[in-house]
Subunit: 211 residues, 2 copies
């Protein structure tokens, strides 16, 4: 049975119910740990499911930040240093990753609080998560305030990538399942995946086939 | 073995390889069919994996559009009418959904070309996809040009939602697996999911537990 939720119905929902509903409506999402460090050397780690691909050339990622939330420590560190890392979640660390969303005071690093380990690569400023298989070093390029709801679109440029050699396929495709990367939905659900198919580039005169 | 991709290496990649790589780096993504209709009644249907949650209150969704690509018919219809629908993919329709990314001329509707069926609900202008289990009616609120790469952030407000009654749980969580919704990665990969857990709201003095 199909249920219809009208705008009137949605507007009348209790706040937490509505947040849960609307957050899970859009479909599956990526989930990353964002690692940062402030100028005093204090690290921060926060789970984000609002990170998305913005473009390949230049290689850009977008992130939506709510500056009045627990995410503000991450955002402040990014503004201060211009440096952050994206670290994929896997089955071994997703509970610890979720735990980073607790409201720890600024002087407590979520690395310490959750037992995830900082890792530094080359001369990149922000900390990576040792336990993540795919890690991306990002540099802040721009922030755009979305006046419609007070969130910030943070745009970053990919500076370097670490990933398991066997997850990088011949054509550049990253096999996220080989790397153990998991997906999320809503505010609190985590998923393993099973690939249905990769499909060939669509053409008007033929149907796609499995690659 | 961990492989390191430096910025220099990434910049030197052949364009299509780089697009495939960078598109799949961010992790799993939602994938939706966007249904539109122009003022002459010509419909259009296009698969998008660049749609993301922007906020629950008001209920907003963001979408990144590349106006110089096959996506431009969708974008033009949205600008012209302010109306579009988001329709989740499932295992039965993902090949047809992928096929909508072929470069059909404007006068051919991807509904007709792929055999997916238009469905109209109440007085909502844009067509829904009959075969989708979760469908969202959206109204254009704002478009923001991202000068950094010429893409457009299209912001829409959720006006109504259709979903299977049994997929809407007690606390507002939408069980995407019950609805058959699938995930995507990169430009061409589609996935079924298996839930690991929903985790309780994180608190500093305890570890999350499974809901």
């Amino acid at each position: 049975m199909l249920k219809h939720l009208s705008l009137e119905y949605i507007l009348g929902l209790e706040q937490r119910y509505r947040a849960t509903l609307i957050n899970s409506l859009g479909g599956f999402k990526s989930v990353n740990l964002v690692g940062t460090k402030n100028q005093n050397g204090q690290t921060n780690l926060a789970v984000f499911n609002s990170i998305f691909h913005l473009g390949a050339s230049p290689a850009l990622v977008g992130m939506i930040v709510r500056p009045d939330s627990v995410e503000r420590h991450t955002y402040e560190n990014i503004l201060q240093t211009g440096s952050y890392t994206l670290n994929h979640l896997n089955e071994d660390i997703y509970i610890k990753a979720h735990q980073t969303s607790a409201r720890y005071p600024r002087e407590i690093s979520e690395f310490t609080a959750t037992g995830l380990n900082e890792e530094y690569k080359d001369d990149f400023f922000a900390p990576y998560v040792k336990e993540s298989a795919i890690k991306i070093g990002v540099e802040l390029k721009e922030k755009i305030e979305l006046k419609i709801n007070g969130t910030i679109l943070v745009i970053g440029a990919i500076k370097e990538v670490y990933l398991p050699a066997n997850a990088l396929l011949e054509d550049g495709f990253v096999d996220l399942e080989k790397a153990g990367t998991i997906a999320s939905s809503g505010l609190d659900a985590y998923y393993k995946t099973t690939r249905l198919a990769r499909l060939s580039y669509a053409k008007t005169n033929s149907l796609p086939h499995t690659l």
